[in-house]
């Protein structure tokens, strides 16, 4: 069974840019059409990154808020990008920082999973993966035992797949410190995971 995935490109008057370099240069010139081009090119990717960083239990509206925040920061800071060809990594870094800030904010409020809209996450449309979704929602909840920074380090390394050097740089830490915190977080999370049969089962089934 295949489903057609719509490509949600906005035609509008997006700038015609064929490379990241020309896109960055256009953005730096203040070309508003380049912003739409950047959205068309990267919104889906950024959205995917946010999905992975936040987990399946996240309210879609919250995620969209964070998506907006990522692009607002990106447009404001694009002039600080040194390597114009490193646009994707630059956006990922903003994503990690935005999510880190959001998690820290929630922890400060000690209200980790409350949706800002008061609405439950929309999970009904994804029923075919209900079990895996529930298990992964639990997994992301377990990550809350980590501090905001450790969670960010852990998720950006294990789920987002950034290199250790990238993770260290994003969090302003040395590689050795990052590795140490990552190891500690991994041990703590693995311990919790093994106490949850559903997660153990998912890990066993998911690895084959």
């Amino acid at each position: 069974m295949t489903s057609v995935v719509p490509l949600r490109l906005l035609r509008g008057d997006a700038a015609d840019v064929d490379s990241d370099e020309s896109l960055v240069l256009a953005l730096r010139r203040g070309d508003r059409r380049a912003e739409l081009a950047a959205w068309n090119r990267y919104a889906r990717r950024v959205d995917g990154t946010l999905r992975r960083l936040l987990g399946p239990g996240e309210d879609p509206m919250n995620r969209e808020d964070l998506l907006q925040e990522v692009f607002i920061r990106f447009f404001n800071r694009v002039h600080t990008l040194r390597e114009v060809n490193a646009l994707a990594g630059f956006l990922t870094g903003i994503c990690v920082n935005v999510v880190h800030g959001e998690i820290a904010r929630r922890r400060r409020r000690r209200w980790l999973r409350l949706t800002s809209t008061g609405l439950a996450p929309d999970t009904s449309v994804h029923e075919p993966n209900a079990d895996a979704r529930e298990a992964l929602t639990r997994y992301y909840r377990q990550l809350e035992v980590l501090g905001a920074k450790d969670r960010s380090i852990f998720v950006s390394r294990t789920i987002e797949g950034l290199t250790l050097a990238e993770v260290a740089s994003l969090h302003g830490l040395s590689i050795s410190t990052t590795q140490r915190r990552l190891n500690r977080a991994t041990k703590k999370i693995a311990l919790l995971v093994r106490r949850d049969p559903l997660l153990v089962s998912l890990a066993a089934g998911g690895s084959s």
Binding site: W39, R52, T92, W111, R138, R141, G161, D196, A204, S207
Partner: protein
């Protein structure tokens, strides 16, 4: 940008089993995120982004204008900084909230001192000016009595009196002092509430298609129509559910699936300690009588009935054995106003196997007088194990049941659970070894229940006693055959042998593990190590089929590069 990568740190680290487990879940998370991707954000998101930017630009311009009018140039620049402005806004908002909370708390105290307006369920709502009914069509509406609505639909009971939440369908939620609850979703069928901390008693009106859910920490309670109470202690990560009537289904850590609770049952789960208790109020008197008759130090053997199973979605609870009250941690005031814990029923949970640092080379076992070489038992030929066809889930299921029987036998043999697993998890491996030495290593190996024996093996590994660790793992396999513990022991034996350079023995154990648990949590590492061991013993061509299998099963595994290299060399 989003390319998944191996979990293992570039600088190398121990804890390969932890990393493999985490990586397996990370793969699932990436897979699910990819499936959820419906082509990216909706087009409207772009327009909302544009609107947000306009609004922010307008705010900054306004502040800038105010700053330039009333202040010097330097100061106005500072005021235009969004961060500073945001901090100021947060400060103002914080002061405002403190004032509001203070007024509310003062009001609460006044109310509690006055005539029983709150206790009567209060037509009057003197405590909270925010007790007004909230309504968003077409969902249920609710009103709050005696509590403070701090933000949106978050409710704090900050006064000295209990509070109540009343929904328009007649459902009533009683809140103890100090409770924090949020209404996170509502519709015509019910609502979803999150118990952040404290105790809440739910009287859910039974209606066709009613759907109520309560989140408490990592637990989810699904309700149709019933009366029950929930307590969640955030600091201790403990949930307690007491049923007065009807039924609910509870899911979360340590519970194998949605566990159904019926009238009169009480469930307490402490995931951090690995404890699950299930009391049955119907048997309270009988059990209590037994308690009184039990002599000091006696271990009771009565079992409470397992929760009824509604079908495949709610498998029955698995008994691990009954724990003597003396072994139970101090219990708090029970939800249903009953006496202390009487009978506990623990559900099996897989033991955590922590990361193993590379231990020193094995030496003679000074305590037992046996050397590692003589202690190790080679596994039989590869075709031997009967349970090879079972899935890991089945193995865990079996583990739960078999383990219960084995550990019941341990209790009958006089072994009292020492909860070593929690101590090992806290880094007290040396203390656990000392405790075991006090008991006697041989007595420990012969009598410890499954959890303690596994923890003992872990403690030995972490303390640089591979000889003891191997003996404990072998005992685990001998005494608990066919369980997940035994499967994990095979893997750990194989990894230990592999690490000390005994590739042949390691290979045999790893193969045994893969035969017994082909989809087990260590399958990725076991297959990767098997591949390398075969390469070492028989050369790259012999390892190539394993490399191909590894790439097929674990395309993002930690042995990815080696597997690719083996195939390229062929």
């Amino acid at each position: 940008m989003s390319g998944p990568g191996p979990v293992r740190g570039e600088s190398g680290s121990g804890g390969g089993d932890d990393e493999a487990l985490v990586e397996a879940l990370a793969q699932e998370a990436r897979r699910l995120a990819a499936q959820d991707d419906r082509g990216g954000p909706a087009p409207a998101a772009w327009y909302r982004l544009a609107r947000t930017r306009r609004e922010r630009a307008g705010q900054i311009q306004t502040k800038h204008r105010r700053g330039s009018e009333g202040r010097s140039e330097g100061r106005s620049d500072r005021w235009t900084r969004p961060v500073t402005a945001g901090a100021l806004a947060a400060l103002v908002a914080g002061v405002g909230c403190l004032v509001v909370v203070g007024i509310a708390a003062l009001g609460g105290r006044q109310a509690s001192h006055g005539p029983a307006t709150v206790a009567t369920g209060g037509a009057a709502t003197p405590v909270t000016t925010s007790a007004a009914a909230t309504s968003i069509e077409p969902g249920l509406s609710f009103s709050v009595h005696g509590a403070t609505v701090t933000r949106g639909e978050e409710i704090d009971v900050v006064g000295n009196s209990d509070a109540a939440l009343r929904f328009s369908d007649g459902t009533d939620v009683g809140l103890d002092v100090g409770t924090r609850l949020a209404v996170t979703a509502r519709d015509a069928r019910g609502a979803r509430l999150r118990l952040q901390s404290g105790r809440a008693r739910f009287q859910v009106v039974h209606r066709p298609n009613a759907a109520w859910k309560v989140d408490a920490g990592p637990y989810l309670i699904e309700v149709t129509g019933t009366v029950f109470a929930v307590r969640w202690v955030e600091a201790e990560q403990t949930i307690e559910v007491a049923m007065e009537s009807g039924s609910v289904r509870v899911s979360g850590p340590l519970l194998s699936d949605r566990m159904e609770l019926r009238t009169g049952q009480r469930l307490v789960v402490r995931p951090a300690a690995g404890d699950v208790e299930l009391d049955h109020l119907d048997q309270m008197g009988q059990t209590h009588q037994t308690d009184q008759n039990a002599g000091p130090g006696q271990t009771r053997t009565e079992r409470t009935p397992e929760p009824s199973s509604p079908g495949p979605s709610a498998p029955p609870a698995r008994t691990e054995g009954v724990r003597a009250a003396a072994d139970e941690p101090t219990h708090r005031e029970p939800l249903a106003g009953r006496g202390p814990v009487r009978t506990a029923l623990a559900l099996a949970s897989p033991r955590a196997h922590l990361a193993s640092p590379a231990g020193p080379s094995p030496g003679p076992d000074e305590d037992s007088g046996a050397s590692t070489a003589t202690t190790l038992v080679e596994p039989p030929p590869f075709e031997a194990p009967a349970p090879a066809e079972r899935s890991e889930g089945a193995a865990l299921e079996s583990d739960g049941r078999d383990q219960g029987a084995h550990e019941g036998a341990s209790k009958r043999a006089g072994w009292v659970s020492r909860r070593w697993a929690a101590r090992v998890a806290s880094g007290e491996s040396q203390a656990v070894l000392a405790d075991a030495e006090h008991v006697g290593f041989e007595a420990t190996l012969a009598g410890a229940d499954g959890a303690d024996l596994t923890a003992f093996a872990d403690a030995a590994r972490y303390s640089g006693r591979p000889d003891l660790a191997d003996r404990a793992l072998l005992e685990t396999r001998r005494r608990f055959p066919g369980t997940a513990r035994a499967q994990a022991a095979a893997f750990l034996l194989g990894r230990a042998a592999d690490d000390r350079g005994d590739a042949a023995s390691g290979l045999a154990w790893l193969r045994r593990y893969l035969l017994e648990a082909p989809r087990g949590p260590f399958a990725s590492e076991a297959l990767g190590r098997q591949m390398i061991a075969v390469e070492k013993l028989r050369g790259a061509p012999a390892a190539a089929p394993l490399a191909a299998e590894y790439l097929r099963r674990f395309p993002n595994g930690t042995y990815l590069l080696r597997a690719r290299a083996l195939l390229l060399d062929r």
